[in-house]
C-alpha cells in the first residue's frame, strides 16, 4: 500500500472509534458519538489532537480517549473525552499517558480543562503496568488535585464513571450530569449485592438525579448530550482561563422585566418567598445559571451577570425549609464560595436567615463542623464581596452569610431587613426568664406578647444603620441592581493579600 494512503487509513480507523461496531450500538443509544460532542463543543473542532494513533497495536482506536485543544467562544480549552464505543471507554495504559499529558499541558498553558466522562473504568487486563507504581492511573487524580484552583476543571458526565473513575467528578470544580445516562458509584449494584446484600438499581444507587438531588456530587442536571454541551459553554463563559486572570466582563444586558421588587419580598418575616425571584429581578436578562438547583434547596447558589460582570450569588431561600442553614446547605455554599474565590469571581450574599438548624439530629450530624466550614470559606474569601440584608439576619446565620464582622467590602440593607442576635421569640424568653416564671400563669402570654412587640420594634434596619459599618447603605430594592453594579465596579479594583502560611486547617 502507498505510504500516504496507509496513513490516511490509520487515521480514519482511529477517528471512527467503535461507532461502526455493532456491539457498540447499545452503548451509544441516546448518546452522541464522542467526536460529535467535540464538534458541538468547540468553535471549529479541535485545533490539535494528541495520541490519535496510540492503542492501534492493541486494536483499540486511540485507546478509547480523545485528548486535544480547541477554541470555545474564542478562548482555548483543553479536553479529555472518553470514547464509550471503544471497549466501553475503559482506561488502558496509553489512555493514562494521554490523559496525564493533557492535564500537564493544561497546567502549563493555564487554560481550562474539560473532562467528557463516559467510561466503564479501568481495564483489568492492563492493570499490571497501570495500577501500581509512579506512572499509573492514580496519576490522573494526583494531577486533578494539582490543577485544582489553577485552571477551571469541569466534568461533563455523559455516562458511567464507576469505582476509582468516580473521583474525576469527585475532584472537578463542577459536574454536569445527563439524566438517565450518567452514573457514578464506588461499588456497582452487583458489588453492593455481594458485599452487603443490598438490592438496588443502578439509577437509585448512583444515577444522575440521585447525585444532583441527594449526594451533591452533581451540580447541574441536564436532559441530553446537546444540553450538557450548551451548559458547559455557558458555564465556562463565567470563568477566566486561570486563577491569574479575571473573568471577562461582557456587554451589559438590561433587566428588561423591571419587576417591582417591593412586591417580591414579603415584609412579614415569617412568610417564605422564593429568593430566585429577587435574584432574577437583579440580574442581566438571560444570565441566571444555577448550581445545585435540586440539592439543599434552602440555599440558592447561582452565577448571574450584573451589568455584564459575572457574580456568584449565595442566597437563603426561605421557600424551602425556611431558608435555615443545614449541614448540606453549608457545604453547598462553602464549595461555591471556594470555586468563585479561586477564579476571581465576585460574591453577592443575600441574607434572609433565621439561623442554623437546631436539634439533636443536626447536632449529631455535625452541624458545627459544617457551619464552621461555611464561616471559614466566607472569612477566607478575598474577591470583591457584597452582602445584602434582605430580611432576617439573625445570630450565627448572619455571620455565616457574610455579615459585617466577616469583613465584606460592603454590607448593604433593604428597608425590610431585621438584624438581631436572636429573633423576638427566643429573645424575650431568654431576657425575661425569671420575670415570666414569677408571673401568674394567666398573665404570662400577655406579658410575653407585649415584650416581643417592643423588641421587634427595636430590631430594624435603621438601628443597624446607626453604626456605619453594620449597614453601609440602606437601599430601595428597585435601586439595588444599579447600586450593586456601581459598587462591584469599584471593588473590582481592590488589592487583596492572602495570609502567608502553608494551609489553613479547614473544618470539614
Amino acid at each position: 500500500m502507498d505510504l500516504y494512503d496507509d496513513l490516511d487509513q490509520r487515521i480514519k480507523w482511529a477517528m471512527d472509534g467503535g461507532r461502526n461496531n455493532p456491539k457498540s450500538a447499545q452503548l451509544l443509544e441516546g448518546k452522541l458519538f464522542v467526536r460529535d460532542r467535540l464538534s458541538l463543543f468547540f468553535d471549529g473542532g479541535l485545533d490539535m489532537e494528541d495520541g490519535l494513533l496510540a492503542g492501534a497495536e492493541k486494536k483499540v482506536p486511540a485507546d478509547a480517549v480523545v485528548t486535544g485543544i480547541g477554541s470555545v467562544g474564542g478562548r482555548k480549552v483543553a479536553v479529555i473525552a472518553n470514547d464509550i464505543s471503544v471497549k466501553a471507554g475503559t482506561w488502558g495504559y496509553q489512555t493514562l499517558l494521554k490523559i496525564t499529558r493533557m492535564q500537564e499541558l493544561a497546567l502549563n498553558l493555564k487554560i481550562p480543562l474539560v473532562y467528557f466522562v463516559d467510561s466503564a473504568g479501568a481495564r483489568i487486563d492492563e492493570q499490571k503496568q497501570s495500577y501500581l507504581g509512579r506512572t499509573a492511573w492514580g496519576n490522573i487524580f494526583h494531577n486533578l488535585v494539582q490543577l485544582s484552583g489553577v485552571v477551571p476543571q469541569l466534568c461533563v458526565l455523559f455516562g458511567p464513571s464507576p469505582a476509582g473513575a468516580a473521583y474525576i467528578p469527585g475532584l472537578c470544580d463542577t459536574v454536569i450530569m445527563v439524566d438517565k445516562k450518567a452514573t457514578a458509584y464506588v461499588g456497582s449494584p452487583r458489588m453492593a449485592r455481594m458485599a452487603i446484600g443490598e438490592d438496588i438499581s443502578e439509577e437509585d444507587l448512583g444515577g444522575a438525579r440521585m447525585h444532583c438531588t441527594l449526594s451533591g456530587l452533581g451540580d447541574i442536571l441536564v436532559k441530553t448530550d446537546e444540553e450538557a454541551i450548551a451548559v458547559a459553554k455557558t458555564y465556562l463563559g463565567y470563568f477566566p482561563a486561570s486563577f491569574e486572570q479575571k473573568p471577562s466582563v461582557v456587554e451589559a444586558v438590561a433587566n428588561g422585566a423591571s419587576v417591582d421588587l417591593t412586591k417580591v419580598i414579603p415584609p412579614d418575616q415569617n412568610v417564605p418567598f422564593d429568593i430566585k425571584a429577587l435574584i432574577q429581578g437583579l440580574a442581566d436578562d438571560g444570565s441566571f445559571l444555577e448550581s445545585k438547583e435540586l440539592f439543599a434547596k434552602e440555599m440558592t447558589t447561582a452565577f448571574i451577570r450584573l451589568g455584564g460582570r459575572g457574580v456568584g450569588v449565595i442566597a437563603n431561600n426561605s421557600k424551602f425549609k425556611g431558608g435555615v442553614l443545614f449541614n448540606d446547605s453549608c457545604d453547598k455554599a462553602a464549595r461555591f464560595i471556594w470555586l468563585c474565590n479561586a477564579f476571581n469571581i465576585p460574591l453577592l450574599f443575600l441574607q434572609d436567615i433565621s439561623g442554623y438548624m437546631i436539634g439533636s439530629s443536626v447536632e449529631k450530624a455535625g452541624i458545627i463542623r459544617h457551619g464552621a466550614k461555611l464561616l471559614s470559606a466566607v472569612c477566607e474569601a478575598t474577591v470583591p464581596r457584597i452582602a445584602v440584608m434582605v430580611r432576617k439576619a439573625y445570630g450565627g446565620g448572619y455571620l455565616a452569610m457574610s455579615g459585617a464582622p466577616t469583613k465584606p467590602d460592603a454590607m448593604l440593607a433593604l428597608p425590610t431587613a431585621k438584624p438581631a442576635l436572636v429573633g423576638p421569640e427566643a429573645a424575650i424568653n431568654a431576657l425575661y426568664f425569671n420575670q415570666i416564671a414569677e408571673l401568674p400563669p394567666a398573665e404570662r402570654a400577655a406579658f410575653i406578647n407585649e415584650k416581643r412587640q417592643e423588641y421587634a420594634k427595636d430590631i430594624n434596619v435603621y438601628s443597624a444603620a446607626a453604626d456605619p459599618f453594620a449597614a453601609e447603605a440602606v437601599v430601595h430594592p428597585n435601586e439595588l441592581r444599579d447600586e450593586l453594579i456601581r459598587r462591584f465596579a469599584i471593588y473590582s479594583m481592590k488589592s487583596s493579600q492572602t495570609i502567608r502560611r502553608r494551609n489553613a486547617v479547614h473544618p470539614v
Binding site: 412568610v271 417564605p272 424551602f320 425556611g322 431558608g323 435555615v324 421569640e425
Partner: protein, 70 residues
Amino acid sequence: MKKIVSPMAGTVWKILKSVGDPVEYGDAVVILESMKMEIPVDATSQGVVTKVVAQEGDVVDQDTVLIELS
C-alpha cells in the same frame, strides 16, 4: 401508596387537605412551624389523599409521614 413527609423538624401548624382531596405535584398540603418560619410542605407526587396521619399541633421529626396519597 405515596407518602408526604416532613422536610425538617417542627410543629404541624395547619393541615390544608382532607381525605378524598385531589393533590397535584407541588401543592402545599401542610404548613409546619419551625425555626420561627412557616414552612409549606409540598406534595412530591400527585394523587388523592387517603389518610391524614399528622394532627395540628403535632411535634414532628424530619421524615415523619404527614399525609398518604393513593
